[in-house]
């Protein structure tokens, strides 16, 4: 069975393979972006392997220690290892961004294909629904969710994902509509091919580059949103290692330990840069 998720991954795999369908898709800047993200992921998931530091363990005798062999990135104001905290924060940000993108992209793409393909009342209903969702103020919705369930990872996540599916829906619907009436799909249907084949051979190869671009931008937006919410203290709660939260915590020590404050800022910058580069210059 081909579930949407495997479909997404398989399609992505086909896109990443050089030469498939006329040239590699991941070329130039996209490759740099993917490489940057891969490095950050290796850092995030690899750091616990080389250092046994717990991101929450405090050592009040050794606060704001500059980077040394013992503490490779130094310690924060509570003596926690910045290496362990940054790694945990990147895991959190990347995981949340990936989940946000998937929960937005999967329903968006599926509903877009459904609306574009079926047309008629299904299409009208979904378009009205998506317009209604668009009218909801996204950030307010997030704040509302946070108010309902303070400090919860899930509330933040649902709030961010809830309005994001619409752009996928709109884009996929428009492309599907024009493709469904094209000779290539008419010919395949006459030859007896079913909807799954048509999605796999005709629709997905056209949609994948656009969805990848939107997904990368969406991921970047999600990371910024999480960090911003953390920074203004409505996001995740301490002692969670979160990039925005870390900035707030380290801000008072900007004079004594500027190198500490700079670390979460640099990591947010690199994460977003990697995703923007991955989004590519031209969404075709």
């Amino acid at each position: 069975m081909t579930t949407p998720a495997t479909l997404t991954l398989r399609g992505l795999g086909a896109r990443l393979r050089p030469g498939a369908g006329g040239g590699p898709v991941l070329s130039g800047r996209r490759l740099v972006g993917a490489g940057l993200l891969a490095l950050l992921a290796v850092f995030a998931w690899g750091a616990p392997l080389i250092s046994d530091a717990d991101p929450a363990r405090q050592d009040l005798l050794r606060t704001l220690v500059p980077p040394s062999l013992e503490a490779p990135l130094g310690t924060d104001h509570l003596g926690r290892s910045l290496l362990a905290r940054l790694a945990a924060a990147v895991r959190l940000s990347l995981g949340l961004a990936l989940m946000g993108v998937l929960t937005a992209a999967v329903p968006g793409v599926l509903l877009g294909i459904l609306a574009g393909w079926r047309g008629g009342w299904v299409d009208r209903l979904l378009v009205v629904l998506s317009d209604a969702f668009l009218a909801l103020p996204g950030l307010l919705l997030v704040l509302l969710m946070v108010a309902i369930a303070p400090g919860s990872f899930w509330a933040l996540y649902v709030g961010i994902a809830l309005v994001l599916w619409i752009e996928y829906f709109r884009l996929v619907r428009a492309t599907t509509r024009t493709l469904v009436t094209s000779p290539q799909i008419e010919a395949s249907r006459l030859l007896g091919f079913g909807p799954l084949y048509i999605v796999r051979r005709h629709l997905w190869p056209e949609l994948a580059p656009m969805v990848l671009t939107l997904g990368a931008f969406g991921g970047a937006t999600a990371i910024m949103a999480i960090a911003a919410l953390g920074f203004v203290s409505v996001g995740l709660r301490p002692p969670t290692a979160e990039l925005g939260l870390m900035m707030t915590e380290l801000l008072p020590y900007h004079y004594e330990a500027p190198w500490a404050l700079l670390q979460p800022i640099a990591v947010v910058f690199l994460l977003v840069l990697g995703l923007i580069l991955l989004a590519g210059k031209d969404p075709r």
Partner: protein
């Protein structure tokens, strides 16, 4: 006779298209036609004369326009001659006209900005020109509201407004059906009768014949044969020119007759009626197709030919009437061939993959593909390419191969050769008709080309407006 345009040893070189040194002379009052297939380099030659070669290409040799050497001039100096001494009648009038500007205004623009007349005078002149071209009443229409022939005449009026003595017409009739084609040819001929110079680029032998004057047969960037149309188009000496002329539908030998008593009817459509955009396309129309029979549908563009085919296939519903399809034949045995072959294949996979998918879905054997490839004279290497990198003729044969894999009883061929060259067209048609006969498949052939339909079809349905 005044020499208007004189080319001596003009050559264009690039990676994929080359024009070898070519000389020609265009005189006032005698049309000159360059006849050749797609990719023969004939359009490059026209672009070299105009000075509109794509970036990276350079023309060598001498180009003299109205006695002046223009080949060595700067692009800016050459542009100054456009519309004044030399003008180009574009291939697709709809693309050349501004879609948001009314017909008269488009022509007036030339008077206003190229000739420098005051606005009122420019508008009056534009209206006069359009009237002379039989476009009375169309002055205030937008290009989208004009027929192909009318749009071509508006483009002609705009190109000619400043009175350029040399007109280059690049495939002026490729987008038009037979009747409209004759109109455009008459228009071009009048230009010559008025003492202008006309250089026409075409792949259509009928256009060359109707224009008369001199003809140059062009292939692979070389002149194969040249001389008066009366001689070149009736008794060519060059073997290529002979083959080209023999490929004209009117010159085809009669196709093998249908074996009688073979098959019963597979399709019977009666009393069909279809309306589109408030206009009745056809009414009380009946079509029958028997196994192994080729039924032609012809008529001008926009008359509902393709709509009729789609109704027969069941892709569209008719507004009235009944369609009976042989219930003994599975749904998948009703197939279609498309006008633009690359558009009918999944664009992102190789042709081998596309065919493998069909073979697998219908549990056929790959050896059938190989047998058919040999029969359709297709080389295996094509299979590893993507649809867009295979020539139109080969891809149309692959499309035929693909539908044969499902053993069709009815095939709707929608202008299957209108984008192909004459020789490829003949080859494709021969194969299509041969297969219909052999396999007892009914073919509904839709075409704008009356001569072609008359030649290959057992029965013809004519649609008029």
């Amino acid at each position: 006779m005044t020499v208007l345009l004189d080319l001596t040893e003009v050559a264009v070189a690039s990676a994929d298209a080359i024009v070898h040194p070519t000389s020609l002379t265009l005189t006032a009052g005698r049309p000159l036609t360059i006849l050749g297939e797609t990719g023969s380099g004939k359009s490059l030659l026209a672009q070299a004369v105009m000075g509109t070669l794509p970036a990276g290409l350079r023309a060598e040799g001498g180009i003299r326009l109205l006695g002046q050497d223009v080949g060595s001039l700067s692009p800016r100096q050459r542009r100054a001659r456009w519309g004044r001494q030399i003008s180009l009648l574009p291939q697709e009038p709809w693309l050349a006209l501004d879609p948001t500007m009314k017909a008269a205004a488009q022509v007036a623009e030339t008077y206003r900005h190229v000739a420098g007349s005051p606005p009122a005078e420019a508008a009056a002149n534009a209206r006069r020109d359009l009237r002379q071209l039989g476009l009375e009443g169309a002055e205030e229409r937008l290009p989208g509201q004009l027929s192909g022939g009318m749009a071509q005449r508006v483009a002609f009026a705009a190109a000619r407004a400043r009175g350029a003595r040399v007109v280059i017409a690049d495939e002026p009739t490729s987008a038009l059906d037979d009747d409209r084609r004759d109109e455009v040819v008459a228009l071009l001929k009048r230009e010559v009768d008025d003492g202008g110079g006309l250089l026409t680029i075409t792949h259509d032998v009928a256009v060359a014949r109707a224009l008369g004057g001199d003809v140059i047969v062009f292939r692979d960037g070389r002149v194969e044969e040249s001389g008066p149309a009366a001689r070149v188009l009736t008794a060519p000496a060059n073997p290529y020119a002979r083959r080209l002329l023999a490929a004209e539908p009117a010159a085809w030998p009669a196709l093998p007759p249908r074996r009688t008593g073979g098959g019963g009817p597979v399709l019977r459509a009666e009393g069909l009626r279809k309306q589109r955009g408030g206009r009745v396309l056809f009414e009380d129309l009946s079509v029958t197709a028997e196994a192994g029979e080729v039924v032609g549908v012809c008529g001008p563009s926009g008359c509902g030919k393709s709509t009729l085919g789609d109704i027969c296939l069941g892709l569209l519903a008719a507004d009235g009437g009944t369609v009976w399809r042989d219930p003994a034949a599975a749904r998948v045995r009703w197939q279609k061939l498309y006008q633009d072959p690359p558009a009918a294949f999944p664009p992102h996979v190789t042709l081998r993959q596309a065919l493998t998918d069909v073979v697998r879905l219908h549990r056929r054997d790959w050896s059938e593909v190989e047998t058919l490839m040999a029969r359709l004279r297709l080389v295996p290497a094509l299979l590893d390419r993507h649809p867009r990198s295979v020539s139109g003729g080969e891809l149309q044969r692959l499309a035929i191969l693909r539908v044969l894999l499902v053993d069709p009883v009815f095939l709707f061929a929608d202008e299957p050769t209108s984008r192909l060259d004459l020789m490829t067209q003949k080859e494709t048609m021969d194969l299509l008709v041969g297969l219909a006969r052999d396999r007892g498949c009914a073919v509904l052939l839709v075409s704008h080309d009356r001569a072609l339909v008359d030649k290959v079809c057992d029965r013809t349905v004519r649609l008029d407006h």
